[in-house]
Symmetry: C2
Subunit: 141 residues, 2 copies
Amino acid sequence: MKLEEALHKLKAQGVRLTPQRQEVLRILIEETDGEEHLSAEEIWRLVQKRYASVSFDTIYRTLNLLIRCGLASELDFSDGCRRFEFAGNGHHHHLVCLKCGRAEELAFCPEDCLARVQVERPGFKITGHAFKIYGYCQRCQ
Amino acid sequence: MKLEEALHKLKAQGVRLTPQRQEVLRILIEETDGEEHLSAEEIWRLVQKRYASVSFDTIYRTLNLLIRCGLASELDFSDGCRRFEFAGNGHHHHLVCLKCGRAEELAFCPEDCLARVQVERPGFKITGHAFKIYGYCQRCQ
DNA sequence: TAGCACATTGGAATGATTCTGATCTAGGAG
DNA sequence: CTCCTAGATCAGAATCATTCCAATGTGCTA
């Protein structure tokens, strides 16, 4: 399954599989049911359940490591802290609720817009993009 | 001109026109030649030229006030601090250079994408959006 | 199984932003 | 024009997310 695959990918990059790292990865993959996008603190609390003495620093170092290895991506919902998600579910964007802070995932991607931008600005070398939609989810209206 | 207009708009909302506020607004409007998008600290240094004892706190309170009044907007270029711009130049997006941090403004807006999203997710009430393109500007490639 | 390069820990440091309590002032009332 | 006060400013301390540091612990290769 996904976790095995992700661990294998990490190992293939010469990264040590410590229990803390495995647990962070497991949480990103398995404990984000529905529309949860966890903050570092939330991940820390979850890891603590199994490894009570894990430090905050380890969480951040691990998350940054996973990002460098392409297994996690960071999100910014303008709520004061970074949020993280597993990067193995394909490219997507988010609908962010301004009241409850939850984010729904959106498969749709404005690729054709990118092409138009590239034509308009040939001098700029595009490497990535972000499309975020703000508003109120059904529950919060 | 623009500054007069903006000050008038502020007054109309019952906001006191202190010299510090006027200077912050003037800097946002007049001193951002080219593609500068100022951080709070940069604005602070500029205000200090005229009001040497201005506090950092005043800069932040003023910027947040201007945002609430619709005269400024905040930008996030993922470089660790918020950046600000005058909100009277029309809706636009940004091409952010990952090397030098500068942002070019992009008049093009993926409005049609928004419409498609709205059809796809009728339950979500859209109030705003952000479209950011990351990459390398001509100078930095 | 041993050894060491790399990870983890706890606490302190950093940097952006906001709060606090004392002092000052913009701008309306007289 | 002057007075008055709600609201603004100031300096410095507090807060919050994130990272650094030095000591200690541990995956994993040989």
